[in-house]
Symmetry: C2
Subunit: 355 residues, 2 copies
Amino acid sequence: MNEHHPHDISGGPVCPIPISDYPRVLLAHGGGGKLMHQLIGKMFLSLFSHPELQKQHDGAVFTPETERLAFSTDSYVIHPLFFPGGDIGSLAVHGTVNDLAMCGARPRYLSAGFILEEGLPMETLWQIVQSMHAAAQQCGVAIVTGDTKVVDRGKGDGVYINTAGIGMIEHEQEISPARVEAGDALILSGDLGRHGIAIMATREGLAFESVIESDSAPLVEPVLALFEAGVEVHCLRDLTRGGLASALVEIAESSGWNIHVEERAIPVREDVQGACEILGLDPLYIANEGRFIALVKSADAAKVLSVLQSFPVSAGATVIGEVEAKQSHRVFMTGRIGARRIVDMFSGEQLPRIC
Amino acid sequence: MNEHHPHDISGGPVCPIPISDYPRVLLAHGGGGKLMHQLIGKMFLSLFSHPELQKQHDGAVFTPETERLAFSTDSYVIHPLFFPGGDIGSLAVHGTVNDLAMCGARPRYLSAGFILEEGLPMETLWQIVQSMHAAAQQCGVAIVTGDTKVVDRGKGDGVYINTAGIGMIEHEQEISPARVEAGDALILSGDLGRHGIAIMATREGLAFESVIESDSAPLVEPVLALFEAGVEVHCLRDLTRGGLASALVEIAESSGWNIHVEERAIPVREDVQGACEILGLDPLYIANEGRFIALVKSADAAKVLSVLQSFPVSAGATVIGEVEAKQSHRVFMTGRIGARRIVDMFSGEQLPRIC
């Protein structure tokens, strides 16, 4: 197992499982007996204190507040577990919360499934659980049901986390590639590439002039503000694995419409651009964890920009392209020197275990 | 990676990812590019063909049919992946579906999160996916959203699966340890120990006179039939990790009431009992994947038995004890020779990676 590089959380609450008794996770912590109940009762329930979770039943029961609900899941296998700007715990909350936001939903409930590797330092788990808790509070979601498994040493990589989420859809709009129309404005919520570069730099031990932090953040507030402002939103997509390019190709393929992007309109920080050149990476394909695109009715583009720019997480929102009046399921980019080219998904692997 | 021992599914549909091109899972299958989209599009969507999943959006949108919903999750890390009576795919459906049933809900939607190890034979994944599909169809649930991650060779164990599920609660009863009352009848749905023994025998290469198959099965039908029959159900619990003993201790601790069990009333098959003796295991603590207990109003016990016995999966239902009129949060068992003892959770590990 690799050593972890946790953030400094000195001054935080002491690990509720006595480190002197159980410095590391044992197989028995997943075995259904006393140790598992101690881990769940003392560590998870000490923070994730929702009444439904306290029941320690086989599941949570809730009453939806809206007619339509969104449901999404992601597993998180990021390596390393801690990185500048976040860790697997906050990422596991932000990622699923953002997927719900991309469905136009207000995230409300999360499940948390932990797969722990035997030997994981208990203190590391405690830091991750605290980080999940803080992120969930920030996002207004409750962790209401969960599961803990332990796999033998060498059959995991510290910890994998799955979260599934349920959100409430408080408006009447349908958010889907099928709603994309010719003329729609393509809006990007901010600069690209920081999450992927932060992970790669940490993993490879690269030092740049300044530390590049992940953009990992919840996108709920700006997205819900769009609906509250009465904007006609056609499609939303967060730019995780595969980056902007893959998201655009997916939408073009699903909707049928061609999408055109202006390369020079895409914000990439200078230090990120420099790191990309050193690492041989293209910022268009790099994973972000706090960025999204919105395809909106063109008449609403100015209003969308003004709403998004009023939130710190999307202060850099900008129009980067539009949907063309042609249907060949493709993405085109006009480059910095003016040439127009097709944008495709990448075929090999760019950055494994980025989320 | 250990070799797999798949069931014979000859005659089934051919793996939709050409084995000659991709005999094994690559890191790029989780990278967000073309290979991941091919895997999702050709393999997962070829079977999990729900309209919401076909949208390939960040999540699924649905409209609940009832006022109250249940939400549950489990990760499955069972070793080996294939065992007599099931595999990780069917188990990942049955397990979560059963957790929803234990909340008194009709399971409707599942998410599926795959964590694949680089090098997993594509054919193995295909068999697991087919098994999930068949199990989901049998249970009347739709897999509507999912996620695929790939971890490097040696950082997984073939495949881990998380499922989260949403179920509809079609009645007014609250199912919870808090509803348990003195005098409640304790009913067990059938014989104990087959899942755990099937796994241990496969893992250790033990051969008994006959193959002991896992009891892995969905419990939805008998449970929902109880509500349809108008029975007053107080608490339900499936007997997975930790077995009958841990489930009883959990309920006694949560409800406060003492629970009394008659050991000789607990059905254990002779071959399972024999295997337990050889392996030094106690059937009370062994995981089952198709067994549950119901704590019901004593006046309804006969009706509960008659409903449960009408379904093959719970044909062996029988009363094994009752809730005593004392509140010291404990479980007592009267043994075969008449002595009364306290039943506790086990402290160490009995069977790791049983589910």
